[in-house]
Symmetry: C2
Subunit: 207 residues, 2 copies
DNA sequence: AACCGGCCGTGACAGATGTCATCCGTGTCA
DNA sequence: TGACACGGATGACATCTGTCACGGCCGGTT
């Protein structure tokens, strides 16, 4: 028979072993796809991609070490010929925006039907965009941060429960100033407390 | 050849289609396991279990409709011969405690290696316990709620951002009383704000 | 040069938050 | 029967939170 196209070499990264193993099994059943590496941490992605000669990296976002978006940027910098498909639980507009900025070719959420994953891998391998139009639209609308740099500074600290007093010390500002930035951020996120504001900003990818 | 044992009929419930499909593929490769139903909502579990004649239900916890623990109780009530294996992202002691109380035979987290899932299904099918000893210990220690009924009442409302004024109206208490219960709950959970207290209590399964 | 808008920064203030001391009713125990 | 512990409930109070009005600086526009 005519020579076959060599299979697409795929690296899988997900911190949940069960999910990773199941996805490896799913993709491994495709005749034209071969899972050549599996890692559970973001900071293992690049070396594993290099060693395994992966054509496509399928990355979750929330992982120990570095996250999947940071791993994406690292992979693209080190292996320009290697494409990245982000597969994540949360279809956050901010995630999509940052992932594309980091060089990801595709972005799917775990709500996607399983049979579409292999097709997404094939398309990404060919350099074609794979992403949900609704999510893209939402990213366009929500993804644009309206926070100033200082507002982001104080929200990041607020995210970890740091008091106004501590934030003012850390950023060399008066407490009134910190409260004013927090208040402004609360308004821009449409929330009622700094905790909600920080969480919403993070979900939108503004932090 | 000698007659084979009929395969174990398994129902899969997970709101993430990709994960569910991948797990179905993984389990479907086992000669003695047959995936007979897949659902994405907790409130579809019972009817699907009945229709498919499932021997084992593999349930995620966080799903639309009712959660996997409520679904467990419903399955056990309706089909006493059907065993439940909980497969969840968060190995929260409170979840384990509530799952066992609801009648689950097994409880694994998604950090488990993929190859152990089929074995877990087989063991659960035989009525054997499947759970992580470390998680069981942690559940024993943390899972016991130290909150009073009223503290739980106010924390549940605090979880959704309800103000003290609203909580006092809803529970027919004075605002001072509500603050006192919130303060007590903050102390018992070792936190600093009612938001943290509510979140920690939920994680521990105290709510 | 003058004006304007936005960001950065500040302090005053009203209202919200969490702590504390206290009281009452109920159940348990000696 | 009396003492005690506990949960439920309350209000006073110190502190914190978020809003608001304001000023300075900078860059862009007229």
């Amino acid at each position: 028979m005519v020579s076959e196209t060599p299979p697409i070499r795929v690296l899988l990264a997900d911190d949940q072993a069960l999910v990773r193993g199941a996805l490896a099994t799913l993709l491994g059943l495709e005749p034209d796809i071969e899972v050549v590496a599996e890692v559970g941490r973001g900071d293992e992605v690049v070396s594993a991609a290099v060693q395994s000669g992966a054509h496509v990296c399928v990355l979750d976002i929330e992982m120990p070490g570095i996250d999947g978006i940071e791993a994406t940027a690292a992979v693209r910098a080190r292996l320009p010929g290697c494409h990245v498909l982000i597969v994540t639980t949360f279809g956050r507009p901010g995630y999509l925006k940052r992932a594309l900025a980091a060089g990801a070719t595709g972005f799917v959420v775990k709500d996607t039907p399983a049979r579409q994953l292999a097709d997404a891998v094939r398309r990404v391998h060919q350099g074609l965009r794979v992403l949900d139009p609704a999510l893209a639209t939402s990213s366009l609308i929500e993804g644009e941060s309206h926070l100033t740099e200082r507002e982001r500074d104080v929200l990041r600290l607020a995210l970890t429960g740091t008091t106004v007093a501590d934030i003012s010390v850390r950023l060399h500002l008066s407490q009134g100033t910190v409260r004013n930035y927090l208040s402004s951020a609360i308004g821009k996120t449409g929330t009622h407390t700094r905790y909600e504001a920080a969480r919403v900003a993070q979900e939108r990818g503004w932090l």
